[in-house]
Amino acid sequence: MGQLTYKQSWFGNVKGDILSGIVVALALIPEAIAFSIIAGVDPMVGLYASFTIAVTISFLGGRPGMISAATGAMALLFIDLVANYGIHYLLAATVLTGIIQILFGVFKLARYMKFIPRSVMVGFVNALAILIFTSQLQHFEDESVIIYLLVGLTLAIIYLFPYLTKAVPSTLVAIVAITALSIFMNYGVRTVGDMGEISKTLPAFFLPDVPLTIETLMIIFPYSLALAVVGLLESLLTATIVDDMTDTDSDKNMESRGQGIANIITGFFGGMAGCAMIGQSVINVKSGGRGRLSAFVAGVFLIFLIVVLGDIVVRIPMGALAGVMIMVSISTFDWNSIRTLHLVPRSDAVVMVVTVLTVVFTHNLAIGVFTGILLSAIFFVSKISKVSVDSKLEGNRRTYTVKGELFFASVTELVTQFDYKENVKNVEINLSCSHIWDDSAVAAVDKIVNKFEENNIVVNVTGLNEDSNELVSKLANKLGSH
């Protein structure tokens, strides 16, 4: 796999990038509006974000061909912030998210994302899918039966239209058809216009109207941190998928910095925090997009359409958007993980399910991911903390052979596995099949030696490997109790 030069990544695939950028812009509009509505803000907040993020990332991102914009994963994180404090705190939080992400990029933290276990990643996307789905249920409340019809029809068009042609994104066809239908039949269902304003203007620079105090920082910081982590997580996952689809490499730290700058700019232009989108990136690559130009065209064409077609956008019925979101939810879910749930190790399955449940109950993807990581770590520690001790007797000398990792979690078990009262003169503790990892292990070995010596048995500890030896000599005089 090789990486393109910056110029190649712009102009290496002009025709393909322009066409796919247009397709992505069309597919982005319904999603950007729906994600804004999930977050409880005006549709323009998501649309402006999609424009500024896509365009900024096209210059500064590390993965050409990947599409970043307003996303569901991020929108779900700041519902409470918007509800309790209003839009300006969201904009401030968006700027702070960007600053945190730049720091992640500068300190090259992206590679630590690889430490996130597979089962947590799978739990993350599944939980995201479930939250997107449940966020749509509100649109069915207090509505006539007609909403089910509209949603059903939307989904039917989305899934069946590609069999006719793949030239136009089927989500757009569904939106246009259902909007036309509801205008024509005059159903009186809720529309985008009922959820907020669409202003047919370009985004403008302004400072979020929040007091610049520590108190403000304390309010937005937890949200920003969660946004930064979730945004990078989804972007890294998306970047890896695009790497794989196109068989090229990407610069994950550059992507992290680029996304940070994109979010800062977005916050100052009245947009909400966003990140890379798996679904849209897949659409882009499938439609022939490979370079930076595709993301640039997507952003510019999107805002152009809004300025020109704003009047029509407000008449899109919510049922059509709910249908699109249900499709997004279905394609986000990793169905493969259900099929293989009984095949993967039991602990992996538990981690995945716990990650999903935590997110569903807390409505916070970041908390779910941390719970998952913590649980995986505990499972891992308990797996490797099994220590076995074999022993054999030769005359007056007993040899114990310890096998396993010696550290805080495994030492309690270890100490009980020796017979300190046995009638022998010499004891050898062979550690050649084990490793001493921390001060607890050194102290435990010390304790074992002491206990034997109390019974007048001479102890030899043998077979320490180099690492362990170094640690023991460093710690022995400080911790040694004899």
Binding site: K114, I116, P117, R118, M121, V122, V125, Y163, L237, T240, I241, D244, M245, T246, D247, I278, V282, V285, K286, D334, N336, S337, T340
Partner: protein, 139 residues
């Protein structure tokens, strides 16, 4: 007779039967080489990346899916090469075949995805229509 042979494979039973035929043809002429091609499409990329998140190289996992065919080729003493392509299976195989001037393409009649094939037409059909060389479709 045929020295540059392309075998399209997705690891399914059909592609194994196709492999048996490809090996047979390869044995007919000295110095022939069989290239086993596996295509990764967009939907596969997502689920493969997720299910191999902590593995060093997804490529290895994919090559593993072709290990039965590899074994068959080894036992028959046919020289072979594994290649992974990216994109839509049909067009990707056609492109690769025509660019590298293969002399014959061997492909199973049906892949893993029955429903899609019913509606969209099969990969083997697309390859047979557009490849610039003889195509052997194995039932």
């Amino acid at each position: 007779m045929y020295k540059k042979i392309l075998l399209a494979s997705d690891g399914s039973e059909h592609s194994k039967r196709a492999a048996a035929n490809a090996i047979h043809i390869a044995q007919c002429s000295k110095g022939s080489i069989m290239e086993v091609v596996y295509v990764v499409d967009a939907d596969k990329a997502k689920s493969d990346v997720l299910s191999n998140w902590n593995t060093a190289d997804i490529g290895d996992k994919r090559k593993e899916r072709m290990k039965d065919i590899e074994k068959m080729a080894k036992e028959a003493g046919v020289s072979y090469k594994l290649t992974i392509l990216h994109g839509e299976p049909g067009p990707a195989i056609v492109d690769y075949t025509n660019k590298n001037k293969f002399e014959i393409v061997i492909i199973g009649s049906r892949g893993l995805n029955g429903l899609q094939e019913f509606v969209l037409g099969s990969v083997s059909h697309k390859v047979a229509k557009r490849a610039n060389c003889p195509v052997l479709i194995v039932k």
